[in-house]
């Protein structure tokens, strides 16, 4: 066993996390003084922590500009989420087919803890398009993507989400429909004016862990289009689940 860690040790870990969080979509590249200003710590302290983070590739410094950016270490961690079971790579050809067939935005979403998150997205070529944004967490009980997965959760886990929702009886009924059809349809549940259709993806053990979602402005989603898309979508998700099962059995 290593040397005991003082209680304030966790404090330093949190400071290191704060440093990582100081890199944002607006300011993805920062100098030492910018980081120390963002986290409110002395530059010498920040420098030590940046060096530690650098040793794990979590930040990288551009020697020419002397600016820090988040590095490959972050992506290595994220890739373990993004590419669970080789999912993203396996899903890509089917997602491309769906986008070609529908001209709407197609995303691959997974369950992460109590929420769902898009891990890959092919955006519609239309000028007016939907984009859920990779990495943005959404509730599981809202939207077709969430419901397509929730409907196939084990009863106990499903019950927990249903009872916590605003209208358990309605959600319960909705989920029964999803289980019967094999896919979920929604309109305006997460983003007003948006409609979506989603179907679940199962792992080798038959447990739902992802879904493919097709989304666009509600006015383009006619009943005919939904029917048409549902067929194609189920073909893609069924094949993907089969691929995942085959992949798991071919390399244990």
């Amino acid at each position: 066993m290593n040397e005991p860690i003082p209680p304030q040790g966790a404090q330093t870990a949190l400071r290191a996390v704060s440093i990582l969080e100081s890199f944002t979509l607006e300011n993805p590249s920062l100098s030492l003084s910018e980081v120390s200003e963002a986290v409110g710590l002395a530059p010498s302290t920040v420098h030590r922590l940046l060096r530690a983070l650098q040793s794990r590739d979590l930040v990288v410094v551009n020697e020419a500009s002397k600016k820090y950016v988040l590095g490959v270490g972050v992506m290595r961690l994220a890739r373990s989420i993004l590419n669970k079971n080789g999912l993203t790579l396996l899903a890509r050809p089917g997602m491309e087919r769906l986008r070609t067939a529908t001209s709407e935005t197609v995303s691959l979403q997974i369950v992460l803890g109590e929420r769902r998150v898009a891990i890959a997205e092919l955006v519609s070529p239309h000028a007016i398009q939907m984009s859920s944004g990779i990495g943005e967490p959404y509730p599981i009980h809202l939207g077709s993507a969430g419901k397509s997965m929730l409907a196939f959760f084990p009863a106990k886990k499903r019950f927990r989400f249903v009872t916590a929702s605003a209208d358990p009886a309605a959600l319960q009924l909705d989920l029964e429909g999803v289980r019967k059809r094999g896919y979920a349809v929604s309109a305006g549940e997460v983003v007003s004016g948006a409609a979506a259709i989603a179907a679940p993806v199962f792992d080798a053990e038959g447990a739902v862990f992802a879904c493919i979602n097709v989304t666009g402005p509600a006015e383009r989603f006619s009943t005919d289009l939904v029917q048409e898309t549902a067929k194609e979508l189920l073909a893609v998700t069924t094949a993907l689940s089969a691929d995942l099962a085959a992949g798991a059995s071919s390399n244990p």
Binding site: Q8, G9, T12, L25, P28, L49, E63, S65, G71, R79
Partner: protein
């Protein structure tokens, strides 16, 4: 009090190791497993897990029981995903490559099924090659194209090589490029030009561009080009690193 003593930094690194262990395991890890993996006592492990959980970097999963990485990781990754810094990350590297080669160097980006030079530094020689920023070129001709094509997903290689005049030969050549890590070509796009190129990978682990050196065949002989290849590969790997990509993956796949 600011605890950034060596011990404090070591603790921060242990928290990082917890994240790495969970990522590597690819399944939920229990408190006991985590404490053993990073070699700390259970109370310490619990404290660190709590800290990481408070920032959404991990979440406790119920079925099966254990900790998995959380969307805090995805939010950090988004910053990289959103960053379009290929050109900025490449500028010093291009300069260095031009100095070392004395030939024209360019950064060629994968755009749909083509490649487009997005940055170019010309050779100081009076006889020199120029690709021209913004002009699209095919992927199946020229070292800059093949260095990209060889590292695309198999189904895309299938599709893109099927339309070439000699698919069989091209696929064999791409296999060789993938093994070596670089591509070479002579007079495939521009008569009298020879090129050597290496792939640049982005955060997804996929190829997004290539780094290319091109010169007249008389001066930029096969021998010169081949001996320059390791430098091109190394400089391209440096750009990959700045983009959040993993050049180790390239060799692994």
């Amino acid at each position: 009090m600011e605890d950034t003593s060596a011990a404090g930094v070591a603790t921060a690194l242990r928290a990082v190791r917890i994240l790495e262990e969970i990522a590597e395991a690819g399944r939920p890890l229990t408190l006991t497993e985590i404490a053993a993996a990073v070699d700390v006592s259970m109370p310490t492990a619990r404290r660190l897990l709590k800290a990481l959980e408070s920032r959404d970097l991990i979440v406790a999963d119920s079925e099966p029981r254990g900790y998995v990485l959380g969307f805090g990781i995805m939010q950090l990754a988004r910053v990289i995903l959103d960053r379009d810094d290929l050109i900025a990350a490449s500028a010093p590297a291009l300069e260095r490559l031009r100095t070392e080669s004395g030939e024209t160097v360019s950064l060629q980006r994968l755009v749909d099924d083509q490649r487009v030079p997005v940055a170019e530094l010309l050779s100081p020689h009076s006889i020199r090659m120029m690709s021209g920023v913004g002009t699209p070129y095919p992927l199946d001709r020229g070292a800059a194209g093949k260095a990209i094509l060889a590292f695309l997903a198999d189904y895309r290689i299938e599709r893109l090589t099927a339309v070439s005049s000699a698919p069989q030969g091209l696929r064999q050549e791409l296999d060789a490029v993938r093994r070596r890590g670089w591509a070479i070509s002579a007079a495939e796009v521009v008569p009298g030009a020879r090129s050597v190129a290496a792939p640049i990978l982005d955060f997804t682990g996929g190829v997004c561009a290539s780094l290319n050196v091109t010169g007249p065949v008389e001066r930029f002989t096969e021998q010169v080009a081949v001996s320059l290849a390791p430098t091109v590969v190394e400089i391209a790997a440096g750009i990959t690193h700045l983009l959040g990509g993993d050049s180790r993956q390239e060799a692994a796949e």
